[in-house]
Amino acid sequence: MSVSETGFDPELYKRFPTTGERPPEEFERLKRAWAAPSGIARLTAVNNNFVGLWYVSTAFLFFILAGGLALLMRTQLALPLTGFLSQETYNQVFTMHGTVMMFLFAVPMMEAIGVMLLPQMLAARDLPFPRLSAYAFWAYFVGGLCFFASIFVGLAPDGGWFMYPPLTSTTFSPGINADMWLLGIGFIEISAIAGAIEILVGVLKTRAPGMTLARMPMFAWAMLVFAGMIVIAFPAIILGTLLLELERALNWPFFDATRGGDPLLWQHLFWFFGHPEVYIIFLPGAGLISMLIANLSRTGLVGYHLVVLALLATSFISFGVWAHHMFTTGMPTLSISFFSAASVAVSLPAGVQVFSWIATLASGKPQFNTPTLFLVGGLVIFVMGGLTGVMIGLIPFDWQVHDTHFIVAHFHYVLIGGAVFPVFAAFYYWMGMTSRRPLSERLGKWVFWLMFAGMHITFLVMHLTGFMGMPRRVYTYLPNLYWEWPNLVSTAGAYIFGLGILLFLFDLARNFRFSIDDQAGNSYGGGTLEWLPNGLYNTRSIPIVHSREPLWDDPRLGDDVEQGRYFLPGTATGLRETLITSPLRAEPQYVQIMPGPSVWPLLAAVFTAGFFLLLTVQAYTPAIVCGILTIPSVMRWLWETDRPVPQETVDVGAGICLPTYVTGPSTHGWWAIVILLVVLGMVFLMEIFSYFFLFGIHTSYWTAPPGFVSLLPVLAGYGGGAGLALLGRHLLAREGSTVWSPTTQLLLAAGAIGFGFAVDLLSWREHGLDPTLSAQGAIVYAMLGWQGLMVALAILMAPYLAARTSVGLVTRPHNTTFDVVTLFLLYAAAQGAMAAVVTRITPGAV
C-alpha cells in the first residue's frame, strides 16, 4: 500500500530508471547552464563546489590562526611570571582565541561543510539560495579577516569572548577594542543566520525523491537541527551585542546598575545563545561521527531513530541549560536547581549517541584507517568531556571548579572530541570528493597520534590545575603554588598537538589538488549520494532513494544516474534548476529555477562588512556610505530572482510533469521568509524578556508609561497596515483588478505601519522618557529602535515591489515576492503593536 504526502503517486517511481538513450545535446546544455565563470570572475561563482571549498578553507585558516594564539598562551603560561607576552597582549590573545575558535572557526566550519556537502549528499543541484550562500561566505571572509587583523595593531578585544559588562562598558574599556568585538561578531552572526536559512530550506525541501526523513544521512539530520538551533539561539546574542553597543555608543544604561540596569541581563542573553552554541558546534560533529562510523564500518547506524531523537532532544534541552554558566552569580537556589536538572538531562542524548556508535562499530567491519582513528579517538575524548560535563552540572561541584582550569579542560575535551576530531575525519574521508589525490594514510596516522597524545597531555592535567585553584584567563601565576609542573606539561602537550597540525598541513600541501571532474573519488567506499559521479551541476540526473545507503544497495545507481536515467536528466528550461520535494517524504513538488553567478552578493557582502568595520573605527561617513550601498546591491541581486519561465510545466523525466513556478506555503521562498521572521521574532522575544527582567530587578527606577489612550492611533496604524497588506494579496488573486492596485495596497500598508511607529515614538518623546537616564528608557527606546528598523525595511520593500510590478515581474494570481513583502508587513505590524502594548503595561514606581 502506498501513502502520499502531497498527492504524488509513489507508483510513478517505478518508471525509473528509464530506458533508452538520452538526446546527445542534453548533457551539454546541462553543463553550460551550470558552468562557472573563470579568471577573476570566478569570484562571482555561486556553485556550492566553489563556495563550499572557499568556506571550508577560510574556516580552517581561522583554526590555524586561533591555534597559533593558543600556542602563544601556552608559551606564556609554561612558567610562572614570564614576560613572553605582556598583560595587555595576553588579554587580547585569550579573548581572540576563544572568539575566533567559536565564531570564526567552529560554527562557520560546520556551515561550510554543510554548504560543500549537503547538495551532493541530498542529490540537489545546489543549495536553494546559492547567492545567499555566496553572500554569507563573503561577509564572513571579509569581516573575519579584518576582525582578526585587529590583533596585529593592538586593537583586538580584551574583555574575554563572553564580554561581560561592566568590564566591557565604556567606563572600564574606553578603547575601540570592545566595539571591534561587538560590531565584528554582530556582523558575523548575520552571516551565520543566512547560512542557517539556506541549510534549513535545503535539507527540508531539496532532498532527492524518496529520501524520507527516515532515510536522510545523519549529517543532514544534524545540520537540520544545527540550523534550527542557530535560528533560535543567535537572536539572543544579536540583541545582546546590539544593547551593549548602544550602551557604549549612546550611553543607554542596560547593564549599568547605577541607573537601573543589571550586568546579569547580559549574562542571560549571552548564555541563552552561548550554551546552545556549544551544541550548535557539537551536533554537526556528532552527525559526522554517526554517518562516517557507519559508512567506514560498512554497516548501517545502529539505533538510527534513537540517534535522530537524540539530536532533536539535545537541541531542545540545550535551551534550558544556559544558567549553568551562572551558578555562582547568586541566582535563587530553586532556579539554578532547574538548570542543574536540565544540564544532567542533556547528557542522556549524548550517551545514546555514544552507545549507538559503539554498537555500530561492533556490528560492522571497522577498518583502522585514518578517518576511523579520528572517529574512535574523538569518541573517547568526547566521552571524557561529557563526564566532566555531568560533574559540573551539579551545582556545589561547579561552585568549586567554575572559572578554573578544570572548565578549560572540560570544554576542550568536549569540543576537540566532539567537533575537531570529527572534522579531521571528514577531511580525510571526503578529500576524494574535491581533490585529485587523497591524503596520505601513513602520515594521517602520525597526525592522529600526535593530535590525540597532544590533546591528552595538554588537557588531562588541566583538571588537576583547576583543583589546585588556578583560575582561568590569567596571564601569569605566582610560583610556589605547585602550578608550575602541570602548566609545563600542558604547554608541552600543546606543542605536540601543534606538531600534528603542522604535519597535516604538510600533507595537505603535498596531496591536495582541487578538481571538479577528476577527483580521487570514493576511496573509503561510502554508500551515500555524494559519491555519485558528479560535476558542477552535481549529478547528471537526480536519483530515487530507497534506503539510507543507496550506493551499496543498488550498485548500478551511479551508472544510471550518470546516463540520465533519473529525474531532471538535463535542464528542462535551459536555466539552472533543481527539484523541490516535500519535507517529510521527499515527494517531487516542482522545479525551482536557480540564479547563476553574480557579483552583487559579493559587493553586498563587502559593503555590509565595510559598514560594520568602519563603524568600529568611528569613520561614520564612509560607514554610512557603505550601509547605503548595501541596499541597492541586495536589491539588484534579488531583482534577477523570482522570474517565471515560459514553460509552466516541464517534463522531469519518464513523462512526469512538474510546474516551474509555484507560490504559497509549500515553496522554498515562503519557508525562507518565515524562518527569517522567526529570527526577527526571537530578537523581539528577547527584548520582551529583557524588558521584564529589568523591570523585575530595579523596579524603583521605573516611571509610569504614557496612558493607554496613546495606544489607539498606534494600534490603528498597525492594524490598518496589516489589513491593507492582506487586502492587497487578496486583490492580486482577483484577476479583474487593475495592474497597480494590489501593489498600491502594499505601499499604503507600509505607510500605515510607518504612521503607527511614528505615533508610538512621538508619544514616548512627549512623555519625556530619557534613554540615557534609566534602564526603562534604554530598553523602551531599544525596542522602538528595533521596530524602526522593521519599518525602514518595510518602507524599502514596498517600492521595490512596486518597481517589479511596473515592469511586469509580479505575476498573478500569486507571486512569491508579493507574498514575501506581505508576510513581512504583517510581521512588522504585529511586532509594532505588541511592543507598544508591552511597554505600556508595567506600572511606574515613582
Binding site: L309, S335, A342, A345
Partner: protein
C-alpha cells in the same frame, strides 16, 4: 505540521514545562508560591506526556507504511524521554534539606 507537532510533542512539552518552572522560580524568588506553581506545571507536563505517549503508540500500531511507523515511533520515544526529563526537572521540588 500536525505530524511535526506529534513527532516533537514530547520535546515541546519538556520545553514548555522548563520555561514554566523557570518563570515561576524567577518571578517569585524564595517564595513557596514558586514551588506550588512548579508542582502544578510538573503534574500537567506529566499528564501531557502520558497522553502523547498513548496517542503516538496507538498511531504507531495502525501506521500505513514503514515511514509512518517510523515517525510515530520517534514521537513515542520522544514523549517517553520527555516524561523522564520532566520528572528530573521536578526533582528540585522534592530534594530534601
Amino acid at each position: 505540521m500536525r505530524r511535526w507537532l506529534l513527532m516533537l510533542g514530547g520535546l515541546l512539552v519538556w520545553a514548555a514545562h522548563f520555561f514554566a518552572v523557570y518563570a515561576a522560580a524567577s518571578i517569585f524568588p524564595g517564595d513557596p508560591a514558586a514551588e506550588s506553581l512548579a508542582l502544578v506545571a510538573t503534574l500537567a507536563a506529566i499528564g501531557a506526556n502520558g497522553i502523547l505517549l498513548w496517542w503516538t503508540l496507538g498511531r504507531k500500531r495502525t501506521a500505513a507504511d514503514g515511514f509512518d511507523e517510523w515517525t510515530w515511533r520517534v514521537g513515542a520515544i520522544g514523549a517517553g524521554l520527555s516524561l523522564l526529563a520532566v520528572l528530573w526537572q521536578g526533582m528540585p521540588l522534592i530534594a530534601s534539606t
